[in-house]
C-alpha cells in the first residue's frame, strides 16, 4: 500500500486544505483508493465546486419541467403522457488531445445520460468551436493543426452517432483564434419517453442487487474527470495526456440502449445510472446519495479487460459503455436474461445497504469506505474571488477603421458580403453535416442549415424544435449581455420554426475559475442567462460547466452555449428560412434602429468587424428581453395562422447575410430597400451587417401583409415592408441608392464551397476521378 505523501496528494490535484478536510471526514489517513475516489469526486468537473453557488441563480422550474438539474438529464412534459429528456455536455479537453475519440466518446456519454432516464435518443446537435482553418491576415499559426482537429472531431461524432442510429440534426460551428489551443466540443442530445416511465439514478431498497452491465473495465480514461477536465493545459500535455482519453464503441452502446430500454419494461429495475466521468466511483456514490442508502461492491466481480488491476484503477477507470443498475431482489434473472439476449456482460457486483456510504471490497477486504455525503453534497464549495478585469479592447472603433466604414460603396459592400459568406463561421456547414446521418429514424423535418432543427413525433404529429447557440466574442466584450443574447437567439431560432420554447439546457465553457477575472465572467454570464431565461420562460433543466479551458495561461472567450427545446402542436404548421416563391413581400419583424453612437459601439462585436476588419471593439448589442419575447410570440402566431412563407432571424453577419441565406435554398432572389433601417448619418455598412437582436425577416404573400402587420401591432412589435422576393439577384438599396447587388447563384457558390475549400484545400469541391 503506497504511503500517502504530500506529492501524491498534489498529483491528485487536491490542494492541502482539501486534503485536511479528507483527514477530518475519515478520521484517519485515506487509502490510496480512497484518495483517488476523493480526487475525482471533488474535482471541478464532478463537484461543481466553483460554480455551484452561482448556478443557484438560474431558474429551473416551469410549468412543463418534470425534472430539473441534479439527475442525468432534464425532463420536460410535451403532453399526451409523453416527455422529452435532454441535456448538453462538453468534451473539450479530450477532443483537443485526441480529436476523434474525444468527440466520439463525448457523443457516447451524453447519449447514455439520455437513455439512462428511460428515453430513446432521437436527436443530437453539436456546438463546435475551433481555431481558424483559413490562412490569412487575421489567421492563426495553427491552421494545419486546426484542420486536423476539425477532421478528427467531425469524423468522431459521425462515427459514433451514425453507428448508434441517432440523427445529428444541427448545431453550430465557429472558428476563432481563442479556440486555437482549446477547441470546444459541446454535444446536445434529446430523447423521448413515456412520462410514467422515467428512470432515476437511485439505489433504493437495501438488500437489492447492484448489477454492472456493458463493457469490461480497463485502464483507459483513468482520471479523465480530474486531470483532463479539471486542469489547465501546458505545452506537452497534448501528447502526454492521450492515455487519459477514453475509447468509444458505438455498437456496444447501441446494444446497451436496446437492452436497457427492454429491461426497463420488465418492471424489475429500481434505479439506473451510466458510468461516465469518474466511472464506477461516481455511479455508486451518487446512486446511494440520492436514495439515502449505501452501496457495497466487490471488485473481484467487476468484469475486467485485463488481470491484476488495482482497486484504484477499477474505481477510477472511465471505460465507456458501462451502466450500473439496481434491480429488485428476486427478479435478477429477468434482468440478466435481457442482457444475455443482447450479448452483454451483466454481473451482480454488490448490494444496496442501509448505511449511507460507499464500501468497496476486493478479495473480501475493504479497500475503501467513504460516506456518500462526503463525496456528493458535502464536497467542497468555493466562493471564488471575483474581480472585473480591466478592458483590453477600446469602446470606440479605431480611427483607421472608421474611415473604412464611412467610405464603403456598392461594389465594396457587395464584395464584403461575399467575404462574409465565405468565412467558415458563416459559410454552409455542409462539408461537416453531410458526414452525419441526419435522417435516421425518419423524423427530420428541418435538418442542419436551418435556424433550429425540427423533428416530428410520429405518434402525435407534434413537432419538436431545438437549437444550440452561443457567441464567445459577445461574451468576451460583455459577458452579461452576451449570455442574454445567447438565450434570446437560441429561443428565437426555435420560434422562427413556429415552435414555442419550453425549456433550456446550458453548457458553460470558461477558463480557470481560480482566476478572479474568469469567475467574474462566469458570474456575469450566469446572471445574464438567468435574466433571459426568466424573461423568455425557458428554465434551465440541466447542463454542464466546463472550466479550465486554458492552455499556457491563455483562456478561451467565455463561451456559454444554450440549447433551447420548443414544441409545435402540429408539425405541418412549421416554416423554414427559405424563400418559397417570387413576388412575396418581405417584412422585417421587430428591431428598432439603434442611435448612431450606440450602433458604432456595438458594431465592434459583429462578424463583419471580425472578418472584414480584423478588429474588435465596443460591446455586443443589448437585447430588450420584453420586446424579444413579444417579437417571438408574434412570429409564432403569424406562422400558426399560416400567414408566413418563410422566417429567418437576423444574427451573425446581419441583415445582408440573413437575406442571402433565405435566397439560397430555392435560388429565389430579393430586392430590398432599407429606407427605415438607415440610421441618420451612418454608412450603409451598419444597416447591412449590424447584428442587433430581436429581428426576423418574413416572406409573406401580398394578401396577407395587412393582416400580418395588424397582428404585429397587437404585440406592439414593429413590422415594416422592406422589399419583395424575386429575380435571380439579391439587390439592396438604401434610400433608393443601390448599396449591394449580386447574383444569388454566385453568392451561393461561395457560401457552399468555402468550408470544404478551407479544410481540404481549393481542389476539394471536385469529385475524384474514377
Amino acid at each position: 500500500m503506497p504511503q500517502i505523501t504530500a506529492e501524491l496528494v498534489e498529483q491528485h490535484n487536491l490542494p492541502p486544505e482539501e486534503y485536511r478536510r479528507i483527514l477530518e471526514i475519515m478520521g484517519r489517513e485515506p487509502t490510496i483508493t480512497e484518495l483517488g475516489i476523493f480526487s475525482v469526486m471533488w474535482s471541478e468537473h464532478c463537484s461543481y465546486k466553483s460554480s455551484r453557488v452561482h448556478l443557484k441563480r438560474l431558474p429551473t422550474r416551469g410549468k412543463a419541467v418534470l425534472q430539473g438539474p441534479g439527475e442525468n438529464a432534464g425532463v420536460v412534459d410535451i403532453g399526451g403522457g409523453r416527455c422529452c429528456v435532454f441535456k448538453i455536455e462538453s468534451h473539450n479537453h479530450p477532443s483537443f488531445v485526441e480529436p476523434f475519440q474525444g468527440a466520439a466518446t463525448g457523443v457516447g456519454g451524453i447519449l447514455r445520460d439520455i437513455f439512462t432516464m428511460g428515453a430513446r435518443p432521437v436527436a443530437v446537435m453539436d456546438s463546435l468551436r475551433f481555431g481558424p482553418v483559413m490562412p490569412g491576415a487575421h489567421g492563426s499559426p495553427h491552421v494545419e493543426r486546426n484542420r486536423r482537429i476539425v477532421r478528427g472531431v467531425v469524423s468522431g461524432i459521425a462515427y459514433y452517432g451514425n453507428c448508434f442510429g441517432v440523427p445529428t440534426i444541427g448545431g453550430e460551428v465557429v472558428f476563432e483564434r481563442c479556440y486555437d489551443n482549446n477547441p470546444l466540443v459541446n454535444v446536445f442530445a434529446l430523447g423521448l419517453a413515456q412520462r410514467d416511465q422515467i428512470f432515476l439514478g437511485r439505489a433504493g431498497g437495501p438488500g437489492n442487487p447492484v448489477i454492472y452491465v456493458g463493457a469490461k473495465t480497463g485502464k483507459d480514461g483513468i482520471h479523465g474527470a480530474s486531470l483532463l477536465a479539471s486542469a489547465e493545459f501546458s505545452g506537452a500535455d497534448g501528447q502526454q495526456k492521450r492515455p487519459n482519453v477514453q475509447v468509444g464503441d458505438p455498437f456496444l452502446e447501441k446494444l446497451l440502449l436496446e437492452a436497457c430500454l427492454e429491461v426497463m419494461q420488465t418492471g424489475a429495475v429500481v434505479g439506473i445510472q451510466d458510468m461516465g466521468a469518474a466511472g464506477l466511483t461516481c455511479s455508486t456514490c451518487e446512486m446511494g446519495g440520492r436514495a439515502g442508502t449505501g452501496i457495497e461492491i466487490e471488485l473481484d466481480r467487476v468484469p475486467q479487460r485485463e488481470s491484476g488491476m488495482t482497486p484504484y484503477e477499477i474505481m477510477l477507470s472511465e471505460s465507456q459503455e458501462r451502466m450500473l443498475l439496481v434491480a429488485q431482489r428476486g427478479r435478477e434473472q429477468e434482468v440478466l436474461a435481457v442482457f444475455r439476449k443482447w450479448g452483454l456482460d451483466a454481473v451482480e457486483i454488490g448490494t444496496v445497504i442501509e448505511k449511507p456510504l460507499l464500501r468497496v471490497k476486493q478479495y473480501g477486504e475493504t479497500v475503501a469506505e467513504i460516506p456518500n455525503q462526503a463525496l456528493t453534497d458535502e464536497a467542497p464549495v468555493y466562493e471564488r474571488p471575483i474581480a472585473a478585469p480591466p478592458r483590453t479592447v477600446p469602446m470606440e472603433p479605431p480611427p483607421e477603421v472608421e474611415g473604412v466604414l464611412r467610405s464603403r460603396g456598392r461594389e465594396q459592400l457587395t464584395d464584403d458580403l461575399k467575404k462574409l459568406l465565405a468565412d467558415p463561421t458563416i459559410a454552409s456547414k455542409r462539408w461537416i453535416t453531410e458526414q452525419y446521418d441526419t435522417m435516421v429514424r425518419t423524423n427530420t423535418v428541418i435538418g442542419p442549415g436551418g435556424d433550429a432543427a425540427l423533428l416530428r413525433i410520429k405518434e402525435t404529429a407534434q413537432g419538436l424544435a431545438m437549437s444550440v447557440d452561443g457567441n464567445g466574442r459577445y461574451c468576451f466584450l460583455d459577458p452579461r449581455r452576451g449570455a442574454r443574447l445567447a438565450v434570446a437567439e437560441s429561443a428565437r431560432n426555435v420560434s422562427v420554426t413556429g415552435a414555442e420554447p419550453l425549456a433550456a439546457t446550458n453548457c458553460l465553457n470558461f477558463g480557470n475559475p481560480e482566476k478572479s477575472a474568469i469567475m467574474w465572467q462566469f458570474r456575469e454570464v450566469v446572471e445574464g442567462m438567468a435574466e433571459a431565461c426568466e424573461a423568455l420562460s425557458t428554465p434551465i433543466t440541466g447542463g454542464n460547466v466546463s472550466f479550465y479551458n486554458e492552455t499556457e495561461g491563455q483562456p478561451i472567450y467565455p463561451t456559454p452555449v444554450v440549447g433551447v427545446v420548443g414544441l409545435l402542436p402540429d408539425v405541418k404548421r412549421h416554416t423554414t428560412l427559405a424563400f418559397k416563391a417570387e413576388g412575396r413581400t418581405l417584412l422585417l419583424l421587430g428591431g428598432t434602429t439603434a442611435p448612431a453612437d450606440e450602433a458604432k459601439v456595438t458594431f465592434g462585436s459583429s462578424q463583419y468587424a471580425h472578418t472584414l476588419l480584423g478588429a474588435l471593439w465596443g460591446l455586443p448589442p443589448d437585447v430588450d428581453l420584453d420586446y424579444e419575447r413579444n417579437v417571438q410570440a408574434c412570429c409564432r402566431e403569424l406562422i400558426a395562422k399560416g400567414l408566413v412563407e418563410s422566417a429567418h432571424d437576423i444574427s451573425d453577419g446581419g441583415l445582408a447575410v440573413c437575406l442571402a441565406e433565405s435566397c439560397f435554398p430555392n435560388g429565389v432572389g430579393a430586392s430590398v430597400d432599407l429606407l427605415s433601417e438607415a440610421a441618420a448619418g451612418l454608412s450603409p455598412v451598419y444597416s447591412l451587417f449590424a447584428e442587433d437582436p430581436s429581428r426576423i425577416i418574413l416572406s409573406v404573400a401580398r394578401n396577407s401583409v395587412a393582416e400580418a402587420i395588424r397582428i404585429a401591432g397587437q404585440y406592439k412589435v414593429r413590422a415594416v415592408e422592406i422589399g419583395i422576393t424575386g429575380g435571380s439577384d439579391l439587390k439592396i438599396s438604401q434610400k433608393e441608392q443601390g448599396v449591394l447587388d449580386a447574383p444569388v447563384l454566385e453568392l451561393r457558390a461561395l457560401f457552399d464551397h468555402a468550408l470544404a475549400n478551407a479544410i481540404e484545400g481549393e481542389a476539394s469541391g471536385l469529385p475524384v476521378e474514377n
Binding site: C163, F251, Q435
Partner: protein, 245 residues
C-alpha cells in the same frame, strides 16, 4: 402481404422500414431477430440499414453467418422477395446473394444527402411502379457504398438488366459528378439474375413522406408490394429482363 424486417443487434433503420411498410404501404410488418431462423411467414424480407454487428471488420462480413441469413438464403432460393437497403445490401453481397463487393466511399467519408437515381430497368419486382428512365430523389447515408465488381461480373449484370438504379443528375444524365461514392458504372442498386433479390444503397424508406422531403421512395416500396401481390413467377421477371437487354 407480410413484410419481415430483419433486426441485427446493430440495425438502426429497422424501425424506419417497419414504419414505412405499415404507414405507407398499409401492410403487415414483423421484426425478425437475427438469432432465429423463423421468417414468420413473411412474403417479403427487408434487410434494413445500420451496422449489423458493429461492422468493425467489414460491413456485413459477420452478418452473413447469422442464423437468419441461412433462412433468408433458403427463402431467396425458393424465389422469395428480398430487399437489402444500405447495410442490407452490404450483407447480401457478403452472403453471396448478390454479385460484387463494397469499398469505402471514394472521399473516405460518410455521406448523408439526397441523391438522384435513374430507373434503369422498370420491369423488375423492385421498380415496376416506375417509368423506365424515371429519376427518383432518394437519400443515401453510408461510409461504404462504393460498389465494385470485376469486368466480367459487370458485363454480366449489365447485359442481364440486373442494374436497377444508377446515380444520376436531376435530369437523368449519368455523370461522374452525380456519383456520390465512386461506384462502378454509377451503380446504386442491383438485383440477382433471378430478379427476386435486390440490394440498394439509397434509403427508399426515408423518402416516403412529403413532410421530410421527397416521396419517391414509395415507388420502390410499392413495386415490391405489387410483385408480391402478383406473385408473377420469378422466371418471368428474369426472362423479361433478358429480353429487354
Amino acid at each position: 402481404m407480410k413484410f419481415g424486417v430483419v433486426v441485427f443487434p446493430g440495425s438502426n433503420c429497422d424501425h424506419d422500414a417497419f414504419y414505412a411498410v405499415q404507414s405507407v404501404l398499409g401492410q403487415e410488418a414483423a421484426f425478425l431477430w437475427h438469432d432465429s431462423t423463423d421468417l414468420a411467414g413473411s412474403d417479403v424480407i427487408i434487410l434494413p440499414g445500420g451496422f449489423a454487428y458493429g461492422d468493425y471488420l467489414r460491413t456485413g462480413a459477420i452478418a452473413r453467418f447469422s442464423p437468419i441469413m441461412r433462412a433468408i438464403a433458403d427463402f431467396a432460393a425458393r424465389g422469395g422477395f428480398v430487399m437489402g437497403i444500405c447495410n442490407g445490401f452490404q450483407v447480401l453481397l457478403e452472403a453471396g446473394l448478390l454479385p460484387g463487393a463494397m469499398l469505402r466511399n471514394r472521399a473516405l467519408r460518410f455521406i448523408c444527402r439526397p441523391v438522384y437515381l435513374r430507373v434503369e430497368n422498370a420491369h423488375t419486382a423492385f421498380s415496376n411502379a416506375c417509368r423506365p428512365g424515371q429519376v427518383l430523389e432518394v437519400p443515401i447515408a453510408h461510409g461504404e457504398g462504393n460498389y465494385f465488381a470485376d469486368a466480367d461480373t459487370l458485363e454480366e449484370i449489365e447485359s442481364a438488366g440486373q442494374v436497377v438504379f444508377r446515380y444520376c443528375c436531376p435530369d437523368g444524365e449519368i455523370t461522374n459528378d452525380a456519383n456520390p461514392n465512386g461506384s462502378v458504372h454509377n451503380i446504386a442498386g442491383i438485383m440477382n439474375r433471378e430478379g427476386n433479390v435486390l440490394g440498394m444503397m439509397p434509403h427508399p424508406e426515408r423518402a416516403c413522406d412529403p413532410l421530410l422531403g421527397s416521396t419517391d421512395g414509395r415507388f420502390i416500396l410499392q413495386s415490391v408490394l405489387n410483385a408480391a401481390l402478383d406473385r408473377v413467377s420469378t422466371t418471368a421477371w428474369a426472362v423479361a429482363n433478358v429480353n429487354r437487354s
